[in-house]
């Protein structure tokens, strides 16, 4: 289907089902139960899962296929967001021109930065990209937000003001990002017994976009171009002596992943029309690296899983405070309750970083292929297959999923 083989088609269908049904899947617990704390099916977080998924899919096209580890991809995300908000400020709150411009501008910047950075390889390349991104961040945070020439609005983040031109804005259109009048914030809530599910317009826009770019990523992975990118990672020497110029291939991959990042940034602004400079900081670049490795470098679905994993911890674990803990363990005798809460306390709420750090280590120690490998092992274990040779990618002209 759609020019994909059977295996990829089923992968695409699974991803499509998971994203479309996410409001159900992510809200497995009744809204009033103690476990509702673990529900992730509210619009903001669902949007984040998908947007960071797009970011990571794009990053993986560069890093997973060519092996070039960029430490500055957050810059393109930030540039995408700034472009989108500028579209909101100048034209209107319609998300289409905003997202389109964010892809184009991020593409242009990645062409420029990629052209320069790709003159070097290995860690030298990583540091060049890091340097460009950190410069962008520093300038966006301060110099480019000075009152005379305020391009980024610095610390607060770029936002739309009432006195902005918005030349295409008309009466009756929402004062928030919208798709031809459909506000990105509009949400339809479905209640089934004790359960409650949110269907948010913005989320579904992101989900559709993600399915499209996921499909494109599969096409890239399975294309001759994709093989060339993997050849770059495997052996550049052989590649050059085989009559292939590796530079434009890596640059193309860099620009594609930069455009994915720009798209993610544009969507982020479309969901919430404020672009903060922090999303360009090195920690944000590092985050997408971690997402990709954590999920499974070079696999199609891995980066999306990694993105979901990190965002889940950031948004869910950070909100578990002591009173929530006491609520959960209220059934225990008092002394026991306090003890359990005291033991868990360092790992949740303000300690969510600690839990995340520990999980990073556990995953990379025990699952060298990331979460995807964990999934494969689980499936193999369920199927009762013998492990070993069958795990090794074989009989395929594509990388393992």
């Amino acid at each position: 289907m759609l020019g994909l083989n059977k295996k990829d088609t089923s992968l695409l269908i699974i991803v499509a089902l998971l994203t479309l049904l996410a409001p159900f899947i992510l809200n497995p617990f009744p809204a009033d139960s103690a476990m509702a704390q673990f529900n992730a099916g509210y619009p903001d977080l669902m949007q984040r899962f998908v947007i960071f998924g797009i970011f990571a899919i794009g990053f993986n096209i560069l890093f997973g296929l060519t092996g070039y580890l960029s430490f500055g991809h957050a810059a393109f995300l930030g540039i995408g967001s700034y472009s989108a908000v500028w579209m909101f400020k100048l034209l209107s709150y319609n998300v289409i021109p905003a997202i389109a411009l964010s892809i184009v501008i991020a593409g242009l910047f990645s062409l420029l930065i990629g052209y320069v950075s790709l003159r070097r390889s290995g860690i030298y390349f990583s540091i060049l990209t890091l340097a460009f991104a950190q410069m962008s961040f520093a300038l966006a945070y301060s110099v480019l937000s000075n009152p005379k020439f305020n391009l980024t609005n610095g610390e607060t983040g770029l936002q739309v003001y009432a006195d902005d031109p918005q030349i295409f804005h008309r009466e009756g259109l929402p004062d928030l990002p919208h798709l031809f009048g459909l506000s990105m914030r509009s949400t339809y809530t479905l209640d089934v017994g004790a359960w409650s599910f949110d269907f948010n317009a913005g989320y579904y826009l992101c989900a559709v976009v993600m399915m499209i770019v996921f499909y494109l990523a599969i096409r890239i992975f399975r294309s001759p171009f994709g093989i060339m990118l993997r050849a770059v990672k495997s052996n550049q020497q052989r590649m050059n002596y085989t009559g292939l110029n590796s530079r434009p291939y890596t640059l193309a991959a860099f620009v594609i992943s930069g455009m994915y990042a720009g798209l993610a940034g544009g969507l982020m602004a479309a969901m919430d029309p404020l672009a903060g400079a922090e999303r360009m900081q090195w920690t944000a670049s590092g985050e997408v690296v971690l997402m990709t490795i954590l999920g499974g470098t070079g696999t199609l679905i891995g980066p999306v899983l990694g993105a979901g994993f990190i965002k889940y911890f950031e948004n869910i674990f950070s909100k578990i405070n002591d009173s929530v803990l006491h609520g959960w363990f209220a059934f225990l005798p008092d002394g026991m309750e306090d003890f359990v809460v005291a033991v868990l306390h360092p790992f949740v709420g303000k300690g969510w970083h600690l839990t995340l750090g520990i999980l990073f280590m556990l995953v990379v120690i025990f699952l060298p292929g990331g979460l995807v490998e964990g999934g494969q092992r689980l499936i193999n274990w369920i199927r009762g297959k013998r492990s070993g040779e069958t795990d090794k990618p074989s009989g395929k002209t594509e990388p393992a999923e």
Binding site: I220, S223, G226, M239, N240, Y241, G243, N245
Partner: protein
């Protein structure tokens, strides 16, 4: 006029004159060997031919066109393929994928953004690759990860990749270095077969006399960066200058 003409090539690294006054002519459809003791400048010469190094003086012409100043991939596109001393293949890719890459390179040139096509639909390319694997006796290994091939098979794969581009000149850099006797003999047989069956010129750089005398139609002996003799194999065998160069090295 040979297909490859090297004229007055010189190359200096700091205080070391690695090559001087190298003149060499490789005739079409022959096997030409370049031999010499360690440090004679064989590898430097090879690197000058494929674009990795640019000589300080002289010229290198392939089929009437200069290769100097061109990048390795451009020289390859002119019709020169190179086999490395240790097999250089795409270790993380399957044998089949390894085969596809040179064929794509031949068909599409140094760069093409064919990102939306699917490899599986490239029937013609796949057929060519399969045929080449068949000819090289590796068809049953097409789905293996190439990194897990034996050393001999890696060499075979690398040669297959080069041949699939139908090069006019195949450059081999000590193709049997570090191989066991049996593997060496297999490789000799393979190369013999290739030179007999195909319309191809082979230039081979080699240390091992056994290999050279089994294969070469013509031999150039290099010593201290400059050609000592160029002749047919039977004449090289008894040449006192060659003996001296080699004995001098062992002494």
């Amino acid at each position: 006029m040979g297909i490859l003409e090297v004229k007055d090539v010189g190359k200096r690294f700091g205080g070391l004159q690695a090559l001087s006054n190298v003149n060499l002519s490789v005739k079409e459809n022959t096997v030409h060997a370049i031999i010499g003791p360690n440090g004679a400048g064989k590898s430097t010469l090879l690197n000058c031919l494929v674009g990795k190094l640019i000589p300080d003086t002289g010229s290198v012409m392939f089929d009437g066109q200069s290769v100097l100043g061109r990048a390795p991939y451009e020289i390859n596109q002119m019709g020169i393929s190179r086999v490395f001393q240790t097999p250089e293949i795409f270790g993380e890719l399957t044998v089949m994928e390894n085969m596809l890459i040179p064929i794509f390179a031949m068909r599409d040139g140094a760069f093409r953004m064919h990102a939306y096509e699917t490899v599986e639909n490239e029937r013609e390319v796949i057929e060519q690759a399969e045929q080449m694997l068949e000819e090289m006796g590796m068809a049953d290994k097409r789905h293996m990860h190439s990194a897990s091939l034996s050393r001999g098979d890696k060499r075979r794969l690398e040669i297959a990749m080069c041949l699939s581009q139908k090069p006019r000149l195949l450059l081999l850099d000590e193709p049997t270095a570090g191989m066991a006797r049996a593997d060496t003999n297999n490789t000799i047989d393979l190369l013999k077969q290739i030179s007999d069956e195909r319309d191809i010129t082979i230039a081979i750089i080699e240390h091992d006399m056994h290999v050279v005398f089994s294969l070469a139609d013509r031999i150039t002996v290099l010593a201290q960066g400059t050609p000592l003799v160029e002749d047919e194999p039977q004449n090289i065998r008894g040449n006192p200058k060659v003996r001296e160069a080699y004995l001098g090295e062992t002494a």
